[in-house]
Amino acid sequence: MDGIHGDFYLKRPGFVLDVKLAFPARGVTALFGPSGSGKTTILRCIAGLERVVGRLRVGGEVWQDAEQWKPPHQRSLGYVFQEASLFAHLSVLDNLRYGLKRMAAAEPKNLEQAIDLLDLSPLLSRKPAKLSGGERQRAAIARAVALSPRLLLMDEPLASLDFSRKQEILPYLERLHQLREIPILYVTHSADEIVRLADHLMVIDQGRMVAQGPLGEIMTGLEPPVRLDEFAGTIVEGVIGAKDSIFYLARLDFPGGSLWLVDDGLTLGDRVRVRVLARDVSLTMEPGQSSIHNVLRGQIDGIVADNHPGLVLVRIRVGETIFLARLTKRAAQDLLLGVGQQLWMQVSHLGLVPLGA
């Protein structure tokens, strides 16, 4: 059977972990939750660094069940820790080779690919102490990727870095995501990283799984288990159906409508993914003259209170696609919004999200 399936049970003073997880063996699955919710523990259980009661099957191979438990070194996995955790006594290249040397069927091209992917060529002969924080984390990611494991586990790989270092690493993670060769389980508590990287989402709180499913579905749920706050919104996937070469615009066609976006070298037929944040969506009864040219006809699907007492989140259905709009409670009342109502939706900003093949 495909995919990764597991359940784990662990009891410690003041903490109980009791989760059942299932996620696809492709793309990036984000494991999201507040500090102390058990994200890292789950990752450690999957890696076998923590031995608890449970079962785990990765792409048809049993790693743990009632009868057997594979020690970590016999599991086909890669692990990127929060801090790079490179071996201080080895050069970057020897760090990268450490795992490969221990694999029966190691492909030399995997090493080269990992070095290329993370731009490590100029750093190979250096010792970890001579690297910056960002370079160290890149080397640690390459060390895990080079194994081309069945599952790559990443434990908040950006958490120990400052903002500019994060921006330095994120493009590499996006490239890794686009290659889509290795399934990744990515622990984070950053909504921004989820929106940029994840295809699938698992939300955990106090040792329990609160929600799991495709990112789009979970994000547009009306009782969002994830407090995405400023990042609340939708991911819309579609195909570039037209281009306007005079105004440098491209039209994204999705099930139920289309949106225009600024053309940064897109080609006809490209599959792209855009992020529409709830704060960038406004609602109107009559579309008038406006600087906003993305106006879609939709139907209200639901209205809920947002985190702030003055705000509401409105769920709008456009064909098969769900959008979220964040309004003030007063605006919702002035417009007499109600479930089932037809209206116009204006989108003031679209963010292009990298998409895997």
């Binding site: 070194h73 016999q74 955790s85 071996f87 450490y98 010792k127």
Partner: protein
């Protein structure tokens, strides 16, 4: 002038044959003890550094015991145990070995026990300083625990190994009370340098005592100097 710089010549003329013999014996004893303790002490230190067992405190205390006991106490018990009426003595007799007291072998066994903390404690500290993370990283990179121990833990703890070996060696060289209790004063067999100096003083040969004592000081200083000049360089590289 040239002759004074010819080291062996100078040594020979200042130190007597029995002095040189005692120095040779001391170095042989300290090297043997260091090698044996490297083999015994490494797993003990590793276990102490990694275990969560309640026995950690007990073993730790036993290992540290030679630090606080007067050497004569330790020597006395060892003499009793190794003697013909002692448990170890009966065993060695039954196995057809010569009795251990007043032999080089007995000296080695006694020194191994006496110098144990000087090997185990620096190693334990070095292993503890590594922490779990590098070993976990090794495990996720397909290294078995034994593999990770040799390829990650030992290289990372290397300065600790050097430190432990030098301390053990130096401590064995400086041993006096235990040697006297267990080994006595047999020329060429158990008469190490520290005992030889004592003999010189007893015989009022202050000049000879001076020469040997000076040599020991010089030797110890050079060894430690070499170590402390070299160690920071290796740890900076890593």
């Amino acid at each position: 002038m040239l002759e004074c710089c010819h080291f062996p010549f100078t040594l020979d003329s200042v130190l007597s044959k029995s002095d040189l013999e005692s120095i040779g014996l001391t170095i042989r004893l300290a090297s043997t003890v260091t090698l044996i303790l490297l083999v015994i002490g490494t797993p003990v230190a590793w276990w102490l550094a990694r275990t969560k067992s309640a026995w950690k405190g007990v073993l730790g205390a036993v290992v540290a015991l030679p630090l606080v006991l007067p050497p004569s106490v330790l020597g006395f018990y060892l003499l009793m145990a190794m003697g013909p009426a002692g448990m170890v003595g009966k065993l060695t007799q039954a196995l057809g070995f010569a009795p251990w007291p007043f032999s080089f072998g007995g000296l080695v066994v006694a020194s191994v026990i006496y110098s144990l903390p000087f090997m185990v404690q620096p190693l334990q500290t070095a292993f503890e300083a590594i922490g779990d993370r590098p070993l976990e990283a090794a495990a996720t990179l397909r290294a078995s625990p034994l593999d990770a121990f040799f390829t990650v833990a030992i290289p990372l703890a290397f300065p600790g190994f050097i430190n432990a070996c030098v301390l053990t060696f130096a401590h064995t060289v400086g041993e006096f009370g235990v040697v006297l209790m267990i080994g006595g004063n047999l020329p060429g067999v158990t008469r190490v340098a520290s005992v030889q100096i004592y003999d010189h003083v007893e015989a009022l040969e202050y000049q000879a005592a001076h020469h040997l004592a000076l040599f020991m000081m010089f030797f110890s200083f050079i060894v430690l100097l070499g170590l402390y000049m070299w160690l920071p360089r290796t740890s900076r590289e890593s």
